[in-house]
């Protein structure tokens, strides 16, 4: 599902533009992907770079500037329902893909973004095909706090459980982030400090302590060396971070 822009002026919808390209340029000159023939718009006014489900708006030193939700921007990570203003024109950004990253998160995650933006179209395409789109976003999470490291790929052939589990971080810098447990093994924690693994089995999800002096805590009770089955809304505590396990429909 790709994001799109709704171009309007004075409340009148002019055009709907799907963001399918990696680079979508906006400007007065005809070679732009989105041409707005108005003198208030610079020849090359701004550009939107789209990587998987994320889009980034950048002002190309335009004369009259690029505004998002009333604020002038140089570079901006577009969020669903953002309104981009160029002169009298408005571009509403719509991204139906549910995204857990909030504007606040973005600032911390920024370190990884330039890296992502450098990715070639080829890589982007390859990633897009893989079923684990979330992984890209989660990688940022991983680098940030050493949490939620996706460890294993390749879902079991016949042994896929009928339900899909996920983890949502409740506290700390990554609060609000979600990680789908699509893999047979997902390790959580900081290597060398405390690591736990969530295994996906035909009859459900299980959490087991891997390494570290402290054992994970589930619903306030410290685990022993044995695996513990995870139930919907169980709260896991690991390296001082609380997260909730839940079953997705």
């Amino acid at each position: 599902m790709s994001a799109k822009l709704i171009l309007s002026m004075d409340g009148l919808v002019l055009k709907e533009i799907p963001l399918t390209k990696e680079r979508t340029s906006i400007g007065r000159k005809p070679h732009n992907d989105i041409q707005i023939d108005n003198l208030a718009i610079s020849g090359e006014h701004s550009v939107i770079v789209t990587i998987l489900n994320d889009s980034f708006l950048e002002d190309l030193n335009s004369t009259n500037g690029t505004y998002v939700n009333g604020q002038p921007i140089k570079k901006h990570f577009l969020q669903n329902n953002d309104v981009v203003e160029l002169g009298k024109y408005k571009l509403k950004y719509l991204n139906e893909t549910p995204t857990q990253t909030t504007a606040a998160d973005f600032e911390k995650t920024m370190v990884l973004r330039p890296d992502l933006m450098k990715k070639t179209a080829e890589q982007t395409a390859a990633k897009a095909v893989s079923p684990s789109d979330t992984q890209v976003g989660m990688k940022a999470l991983d680098t940030q706090a050493g949490m939620a490291k996706p460890a294993a790929a390749a879902p079991a052939p016949a042994a896929a459980p009928p339900v899909m589990g996920a983890i949502q971080v409740l506290t700390g810098a990554n609060a609000g982030k979600e990680l789908d447990l699509t893999k047979n093994l997902t390790t959580l924690g900081k290597p060398g400090v405390q690591v736990a693994v969530i295994t996906r089995r035909p009859h459900g999800y299980f959490i087991t302590h891997v390494e570290g002096a402290n054992f994970p805590v589930v619903n306030g009770a410290t685990l022993d060396a044995h695996p513990r089955e995870l139930k919907d809304h169980d709260v896991i505590e690991l390296v001082g971070v609380k997260m909730e396990f839940f079953i997705k429909a």
Partner: protein, 273 residues
Amino acid sequence: MDLSQALQMVSRSDAGMVRSHNEDAVFTHAAMGLVILADGMGGYNAGEVASGMATTLLGSELEKAFQKTAPHQIDAAGKLHSHTVLEAEIARANTAIYQAAQSQPQYAGMGTTLVMALFYDNMMTVAHIGDSRLYRLRGEEFQAITRDHSLLQEQIDSGMITAEEARHSQNKNLVTRALGVDPTVEAEIRDYDTMPGDVYLLCSDGLNDMVEDEEIALTLQALSANLDLAATQLIQTANDSGGRDNVSVVLVRIAREYPAARSWWARLLQWFK
């Protein structure tokens, strides 16, 4: 020389989800740096007799042999002592199993695969017969060190089928070599360097037939800090995927270097080389 500080070893063996008994046998001896895995075959309980004989005989005989002379010593014939001993003891185990199969009607036709590794002097000598495997995880790289002695591997080698097609082949269980089925057998014996951090996996085909190499690799990478859990997880994954065969795993992690203790003049000679 006691290697138990340098080598961490864990083994698990499970009958699987379908078979009533376990014909696999495993042996580990961290102090002498020896791991053995055998996957027996033959009717009734003959398979477990063959695999049990292989691991027990080799385990005890090798321990005796290396107490006299260390495996890294060079024989009069200019051969590593480890190779001489392994060849001789595998031949003896083969004869013992073969003779038992010949003399006892209930053991007729029994035999076993064999994969074993002997760790000494920062290296390992691997011997194998049949389709039980040894894999190595070094950093991110996970690869099979042994090549199966199987019809399937021969077909792959000759280009008849691709490795991908082989996964769907019905000929998975046909080995071209086994211990104890013929009067003589040739084990493939090779040396490899080891590095601290390496994780070695010995397994019966109950693992690699049920679980993709990629999945095995990811399990080892994720859980290498906890070998016990990694072994349990591998068995569990095989069983969750159907567990059609017995499944056994031996994991060895090289915790640190383990150079052989040498006399002062040997070290001096080494120095001048």
